[in-house]
């Protein structure tokens, strides 16, 4: 594999993969916040 192909693949798949993974994590966390909402009692307990 030549260096140009390697560099472009790393940029597109690597950066794209990072963005996609963090995007998925962001969506999953938003979903978890809906499923397990914060309750006022937690603050009182703490």
């Amino acid at each position: 594999m030549d260096k140009l192909t390697f560099g472009v693949t790393m940029l597109v798949v690597g950066m794209g993969g990072t963005l996609l993974t963090l995007g998925i994590i962001s969506a999953v966390i938003a979903l978890m916040k809906k499923i397990f909402p914060y309750k006022k009692e937690e603050e009182e307990k703490a």
């Binding site: 693949t9 790393m10 950066m15 993969g17 993974t21 999953v28 914060y38």
Partner: protein
């Protein structure tokens, strides 16, 4: 008798006679690192042992990095096995409160943008003639995360470890100098003055406990080659958030992290042998590391500007600069910069969110990069 005296005396002079210019230069470099750590407070926990290790390894005839030398033993045990950066990660996970990013999950995207420099610099390094794996190690300086840079470099380009580690830690400590001009150049005064609403507490304990598990499983499935990095930082965070293993959390964040930091620092210093370190290549790596961090900052701010537009002016683009992993220094820089233009602007918690996202982003970026390399059959 006289000959025996002369021979004995020559033993005392041998160190001086074998001293080369490269050793002298590196001893001075070691002293500069000590000065920066001790006097200027630039990452002292690392620069002090690195600087001292650098001095030790450049004293001739001591053979500290030869087989069975004490520095070689530490290096082989902790760096070559990748154990030290991973143990540091357990400590980082145990010390880091990820709540600010959980409060506002969209900031994960800023953590992703803050990693652009890794991939762009990798391309630059390739263009300058470095091999694929050397370019990966150089690019990872842009993760702005010492243990990640050390983990990747020790594994795939160990001959660059000294230069990459020194670049990573030096630039991390220079974030307050590097970032502000880029932030100012890429934003308008109106954008810098945006006041963001205070975040209200909205993350339940269950979410905080599940977060490290979700990241480990999801991240591990997407990028299994980076699971050691992800798994260790998330183990530390799980221990912190669950509250059930307080002793282990404290040990990870204090005793273990401190001991490993000392051993890690001195072994990195030990890689700075003048004969290996003093090459044009080292200067190029230092320059590329600087470019990587500038690009990270620029990409973070540019995504911040996109979020400013899409949120109809509710997000201050300055927080994008905190998408790099220099935690929590970068968040403080954003806070300070915001207050220069609006005294009532408290961006710290928002910037901390982006900064915590950057911490995870750097690990994910390294993990993704390693898995892509594996997929391409390069490692």
């Amino acid at each position: 008798m006289l000959e025996a005296f002369a021979n004995g005396f020559s033993g005392l002079l041998a160190g001086f006679l074998h001293l080369q210019l490269s050793n002298v230069v590196m001893i001075i470099v070691g002293c500069v690192l000590l000065y920066l750590g001790i006097k200027k407070d630039f990452e002292p926990l690392l620069l002090v042992p690195i600087g001292f290790g650098c001095i030790l390894v450049n004293i001739p005839l001591a053979n500290l990095m030869e087989p069975h030398g004490f520095l070689r033993t530490i290096y082989d045990a902790g760096i070559m096995t990748e154990l030290f950066p991973l143990l540091i990660f357990v400590g980082i996970g145990a010390m880091t409160d990820f709540s600010p990013v959980l409060e506002n999950p969209v900031t994960f995207l800023l953590g992703a943008a803050g990693q652009c420099g890794i991939f762009l610099t990798l391309g630059l390094a390739l263009a300058l003639g470095f091999t694929e794996l050397d370019a990966v190690a150089i690019g990872v300086i842009g993760a702005c995360d010492g243990p990640t840079a050390i983990y990747v470099t020790a594994k795939y380009a160990p001959h660059l470890l000294g230069a990459v580690s020194v670049a990573a830690y030096s630039y991390m400590s220079l974030v307050p100098v590097i970032q502000p001009p880029i932030m100012r150049a890429l934003t308008t005064e109106k954008e810098r003055m945006v006041v963001m609403r205070a975040t209200r507490k909205s993350v339940s304990k269950t979410t905080r406990i599940l977060f490290p598990l979700v990241i480990t499983i999801l991240g591990g499935l997407i990028a299994p080659m980076g699971l050691p990095l992800l798994g260790t930082i998330m183990l530390g965070n799980l221990m912190r958030e669950c509250g059930a293993v307080e002793r282990l959390t404290k040990a990870s964040a204090n005793e273990i992290a401190n001991v490993v930091t000392l051993l890690l620092g001195i072994s990195i210093g030990a890689t700075m042998d003048g004969k290996i370190f003093l090459q044009t290549q080292t200067l190029i790596i230092l320059a590329l590391g600087f470019i990587a961090i500038c690009l990270d900052t620029a990409c973070g701010v540019l995504l911040g500007k996109v979020l400013y537009v899409t949120s109809k002016g509710k997000i201050n683009p300055l927080i994008g600069a905190a998408g790099i992993s220099a935690f929590p220094m970068s968040a403080r820089v954003v806070m300070k910069e915001g207050q220069k233009y609006n005294k009532k602007n408290y961006l710290l918690m928002h910037a901390m969110g982006a900064n915590a996202a950057g911490q995870i982003g750097s690990v994910i970026a390294a993990a993704v990069m390693l898995s892509v390399l594996k997929g391409m059959g390069i490692i």
